[in-house]
């Protein structure tokens, strides 16, 4: 289990290798990479800035990671989340879940990213032709999180 919150970019391949180094018990690894899109809600997006709550962010991500380990039969996880200003095409977030069996790795990876969206203290501001705007929380993200509560 490990979590990084950082300004700079990350290398998904290197993160994957380092998570699996020396392991012989892993049968499957699932990773998710979130990217900056150049559109949102009908507007072009030139860039976005992610603000976060240093200290609480790390704690929240570690809690989400522990929750995933409680719920799924997984053997290793890694979360890397960037903050600051990013342009379309840039990587924002990486989630990796590794398990002896692929099914648990798939489910844990999806759980991690769903929970991260609504339970980690990040706020997104988009630069659009109409000016900068704060992204509002979306019902679909909260629904995706609640789905896991129902299965809980």
């Amino acid at each position: 289990m490990s979590v990084s919150v950082q300004r700079g970019d990350f290398d998904p391949g290197r993160e994957l290798e380092s998570l699996l180094e020396g392991r012989r018990d892993i049968g499957g690894v699932v990773s998710f990479v979130g990217l900056v899109r150049d559109f949102s809600e009908g507007s072009g997006v030139g860039a976005l800035t992610l603000e976060h709550y240093p200290g609480m962010t790390e704690k929240a991500l570690e809690k989400i990671e522990r929750e995933a380990h409680d719920r799924f039969d997984i053997d290793a996880t890694r979360i890397v989340h960037r903050h600051g200003r990013m342009e379309p095409g840039e990587r924002i977030v990486l989630v990796i879940a590794a398990s002896s069996h692929r099914g648990e790795a798939f489910r844990a990876c999806e759980f991690l990213i769903d929970w991260l969206k609504t339970k980690a203290p990040f706020w997104k501001s988009e630069e659009t032709p109409e000016g900068a705007r704060w992204v509002e929380a979306r019902g679909s993200d909260e629904n995706a999180t609640r789905r896991w509560d129902d299965e809980g």
Binding site: H52, V93, W123, W134, A137, D141
Partner: protein, 85 residues
Amino acid sequence: MKLLYFAWVRERTGIHEEDYDLPDGVATVADLVEHLRGRGDGFARAFADTGQIRAAVNQETAGPGDAVAQGDEVAFFPPMTGGRA
């Protein structure tokens, strides 16, 4: 106590972080919101719609009824919107 504001709550209050004396009669997050709302236009706008305000006490998510005390770190912010893709 330490008060922190993030995203548009920070923009409206005009403050990111401040040291603040726990006001008389403030025992909960909701009390504190009510008190802060009276601190001027920016604060009134920041806390106008409490349905859009989330809080954390000592870096743990907190609800309106949760206790606040002198020495606590209390943060106010909009619903979280990170990692959306």
